[in-house]
């Protein structure tokens, strides 16, 4: 089944481009460290998911590029074509002349309805090219105007037009010290709307990825390109083909569906965080070896202690002792920094799989009480190494990972809202104070649900 990617706004298009780049170069990579047959199988599965090979010499990405101003899209299209290994369909983009001005209301109430038909036509065309549509993957930031506002509108339209398809939104959270002054407003409005239409929200925070670039990748002058490449690597590690069932004979054909099934058991809990280890500069790869037990131990502790990367993990944090009674307010018994999960998915790529024991992830104390741990934890595997990493382990987690960042954003937005600053910029485009209040209420609800885990 194929995934149609919708790239929205400057951020969405820049990241989308890196994602396809990473996936394509991974597939072309002959260091799969596995049998030729395995490699071919992997390549075919990947191609089916992300590329369409009709009449052109190079694979054509299954993507729709949307932006309200032309500069980024034309750059993205030409960079892809220049690579010579893949490209975008020349007709699959939509842009206008004037951007959204960082104004969510402009993106949602003005550009959305105005361009709905044209955009949905493009999406429909792309969807029809798929033999079987596996769902939609949208990439956007929530700080700006187009990715956030228009993105929220398009997500709604996708949900209306394709009610039974899976819909995963990849959302970039801006630096907390600000890239855009009204980013907290835009974020609150975006998240509350996406929560209604999407199946799940997969989140990357700029602050976190920046730290990874600085401390793990040793990049001195970090550019957005570096950040986007790390994000692309992490996304690739989730979406490249893997075996979902134990002893499965072929690569899973329904990646989005599998993801939703394993991670989103309840519609109130849709926030997914992503961790991937190891991460290191490319030229260090040849000199490093890892063991699966080591990687798994680190990943588990990163989950429990809510660590953002594999350095600086707090090893003191431990799950509460089981055996104590489980009263309804049992969350009080948990140590303060402990990260409770609803569901977790571990994806392992690389050689020597036989020695792997994932029992530690099935420990019931990691999870909230109303799910059976057997249902809460899943793992996917493949022998085929990913993106030159001999071993790579990813964790997609529906847990309290994002609780604190979300709370911060809502807090700051509320603070600004209390002074009514900038509200006139939104009411200009028919987003009223009431709409803000609705969004705040919706997100406080989400915060409350995750807190009470």
């Amino acid at each position: 089944m194929s995934i149609v990617t919708v790239q929205l706004g400057q951020c969405g298009n820049q990241i989308g481009h890196e994602v396809f780049n990473t996936i394509c170069s991974d597939v072309r990579n002959t260091h799969g460290l596995c049998s030729k047959k395995e490699n071919e199988s992997y390549r075919d599965a990947c191609k089916e998911r992300f590329f369409c090979e009709e009449q052109s010499e190079v694979p054509v990405a299954r993507a729709v590029l949307i932006d309200m101003e032309p500069k980024v899209i034309s750059q993205t299209l030409s960079m892809a074509a220049r690579s010579g290994y893949w490209k975008y369909d020349d007709g699959s983009h939509f842009c206008q002349k004037q951007g959204s001005g960082n104004n969510w209301a402009n993106g949602y109430s003005v550009h959305g309805p105005r361009h709905k038909e044209a955009i949905m036509d493009l999406v429909q065309k792309e969807a029809e090219k798929c033999d079987r549509l596996g769902g939609f993957f949208t990439i956007m930031s929530m700080a700006g105007g187009t990715g956030s506002g228009l993105g929220a509108f398009v997500t709604q339209c996708l949900r209306d037009a394709f009610p039974t398809s899976f819909l995963l939104n990849h959302v970039i959270w801006p630096y907390s010290t600000g890239e855009v002054i009204v980013q907290n407003y835009n974020s609150v409005l975006t998240l509350s709307h996406l929560y209604k239409s999407a199946d799940a929200l997969l989140v990357h925070e700029n602050d976190v990825v920046h730290k990874i670039c600085a401390q793990l990748m040793n990049i001195k002058q970090i550019s957005f390109r570096d950040i986007n490449q790390v994000i692309a690597h992490q996304l690739g590690s989730v979406f490249q083909p893997a075996y979902t069932a134990e002893g499965g004979l072929c690569y899973s054909r329904n990646p989005l569906g599998d993801l939703m099934e394993t991670l989103v058991p309840h519609p109130e809990f849709k926030m997914l965080g992503l961790r991937n280890i190891p991460q290191m500069p490319e030229n260090s790869l040849a000199y490093s070896t890892f063991s699966w037990p080591g990687l798994i131990k680190h990943l588990r502790q990163m989950l429990i202690a809510n660590a953002k990367m594999e350095e600086g993990i707090d090893w003191q944090v431990q799950p509460p002792r089981l055996g104590s009674s489980i009263p309804s307010s049992h969350s009080i018994n948990k140590p303060l920094h402990f990260n409770t999960s609803i569901a977790n998915l571990v994806i392992l790529r690389g050689k020597d799989m036989h020695s792997i024991d994932l029992g530690s992830f099935q420990d019931p104390s990691l999870y909230t009480s109303w799910l059976n741990p057997k249902d809460a934890f899943h793992s996917w595997k493949t022998l085929r190494a990913f993106n030159k990493y001999e071993k790579s382990a990813s964790l997609v987690s529906n847990s309290q990972f994002l609780l604190k960042p979300l709370d911060n954003i809502v807090g700051k937005a509320w603070n600004m809202f209390a002074s009514k600053a900038y509200i006139h910029q939104y009411t200009k485009f028919s987003i009223e104070e009431e709409d803000f209040l609705d969004s705040f209420t919706a997100l406080e609800q989400v915060i409350s649900s995750y807190t009470s885990l």
């Binding site: 890239e179 550019s223 509320w414 209390a418």
Partner: protein
């Protein structure tokens, strides 16, 4: 890609405007080596086929034929505009883009606004429409004028009002040169305050500039360039005040250096809209992020570096210095000290080879020394444009919505009141048809209200921060 139209009004407006077009051509010539009319050029210039004499049709692609500025030149006396039309830039302006008269406005806002306003209204509207029609997607009008005189101040603000009526969707950015205390025009306080009311009500963003600051900056550069200190040879072309390499070959006039600074300001402001970068900042984003309340739309600007040294220094130290300078008192284009007042919002637009990590590092470094209003503690808007200005490897434009503009307005109000109490020179104004005493009282009250709003914000400084309590959800 969007287009902008520049409306230059009065002597000051036209002289600054002239420098702007000169430098814009220089900047594009530096970037656009193949002579192809591209999107970046189209934001300020039209490409016209003039071979058949006069104004041919617009050419949207291909080689550059003849570039025409998207501008409207308005002056009620002919001297300045005539000089422009006889100078090296004569071909850049379309003869139909001019509105001139002979006698000038006599430093009288009422003459500029009421008399000439009504007289030329139709003409102005027609020419504006024409300019707008030539644009595929008109995003912004830039008005350049001074506040102290008659034409720039009076007619300039009249045009502002017209723009709001005729083109409500298009942003109106105004660069206003405020008179200094020792201004030789006695009635400049009247003119300025009357103009302020219009700016309060009809502009989207105002960039106030004071001649004193420009003068200080010019002096500083002059000292630096001529100091002969070891290792301090300034790179040619890199002065923010220089027109080296531009069309102007004649003797540089005294105001030229100062006007060049303003021209560079406008170029940097629009750079991210014209050229590519990893984090674009369009003009509508500036208005969105920097104007939290409709009337508080006065932005203090600063440009750094003022010059680039010729020898190769440690790059990142120079970079960090550039950021520090942007917040220092002597780099602001009005007499103000933003560090000791409250920031409502701040925008940093970086050009050249600067990455997001450099930006973040400097924001972290400078944040503790700046006071931000309680509801916008992290109020930063950032933009990265990859094309640096001519002669520099990187540059920074800082725009701040900061209460430090208040002293400028208070001074203005004081000077106004000094004259008004004695009713000095009032009869010159009241003579003009359509002008009444109420115009004065409304104007001063508008200014007082504005000052009051800034006062309220200043009062919050240093007070205890009590965040409003969050919504409670029933579990």
């Amino acid at each position: 890609m969007t287009q902008s139209v520049v409306v230059q009004v009065g002597q000051c407006g036209n002289q600054v405007g002239c420098r702007f077009w000169d430098l814009a051509l220089r900047e594009h010539a530096d970037v656009n080596k193949e002579g192809i009319y591209d999107e970046a050029l189209s934001s300020f210039f039209r490409n016209v086929d003039t071979r058949s004499g006069g104004d041919g049709p617009d050419i949207y692609k291909g080689k550059i034929c003849s570039l025409k500025a998207r501008a409207l030149l308005i002056d009620m006396e002919e001297g300045v505009v005539n000089e422009i039309l006889q100078g090296p830039l004569r071909d850049v302006f379309d003869s139909k883009q001019l509105i001139t008269d002979v006698s000038g406005s006599g430093n009288n806002w009422a003459v500029g606004h009421k008399l000439y306003g009504s007289q030329y209204q139709e003409n102005i509207v027609e020419k504006l429409r024409k300019a707008a029609e030539h644009c595929d997607c008109l995003q912004c009008f830039f008005i350049i004028h001074s506040m102290g005189g008659g034409t720039g101040s009076g007619l300039g603000t009249f045009v502002l009002k017209l723009l709001e009526d005729e083109f409500p969707e298009v942003y109106r950015f105004v660069t206003s040169v405020y008179p200094s205390g020792e201004d030789d025009v006695i009635t400049s306080p009247y003119n300025s305050v009357l103009a302020m009311k219009e700016l309060n009500e009809h502009a989207d963003c105002v960039l106030p500039i004071e001649n004193e600051s420009l003068f200080d900056i010019v002096n500083k550069i002059h000292q630096m360039a001529n100091s002969g200190k070891l290792g301090s040879t300034v790179k040619r072309n890199s002065l923010v005040t220089s027109s080296a390499g531009s069309a102007k070959t004649a003797q540089e006039k005294p105001f030229d250096a100062m006007n060049n600074i303003l021209a560079n300001l406008l170029l940097n402001l629009t750079s991210s809209a014209r050229f590519e970068g990893s984090l674009n900042m369009d003009l509508n984003e500036i208005s969105m992020n920097l104007v939290p309340f409709p009337r508080l739309h006065y932005l203090v600007s600063s440009l750094t570096p003022l010059y680039t040294l010729a020898d190769v220094n440690v790059p990142s130290r120079r970079l960090d210095q550039m950021f520090s300078d942007a917040f220092s008192r002597d780099h602001q284009l009005i007499q103000a000290d933003p560090k000791h007042s409250i920031y409502l919002a701040c925008a940093l637009l970086v050009r050249g080879n600067v990455q997001v990590s450099d930006l973040r590092r400097n924001i972290e470094r400078l944040k503790p020394s700046l006071h931000f209003v309680s509801w916008n503690q992290e109020g930063w808007k950032t933009g990265l444009c990859s094309v640096p200005p001519v002669g520099h490897s990187h540059s920074l434009l800082a725009l701040a919505n900061n209460t430090c503009v208040k002293p400028t307005f208070i001074e203005l109000k004081d000077r106004f009141m000094k004259l008004y109490k004695k009713k000095a020179h009032l009869h010159h104004y009241l003579h003009v048809d359509g002008m009444e005493q109420s115009c004065f009282s409304e104007a001063i009250s508008s200014l007082s209200d504005l000052i009051e709003e800034y006062n309220e914000l200043d009062a919050t400084k240093g007070g205890p921060r009590t965040d409003p309590s969050r919504l409670k959800i029933a579990v």
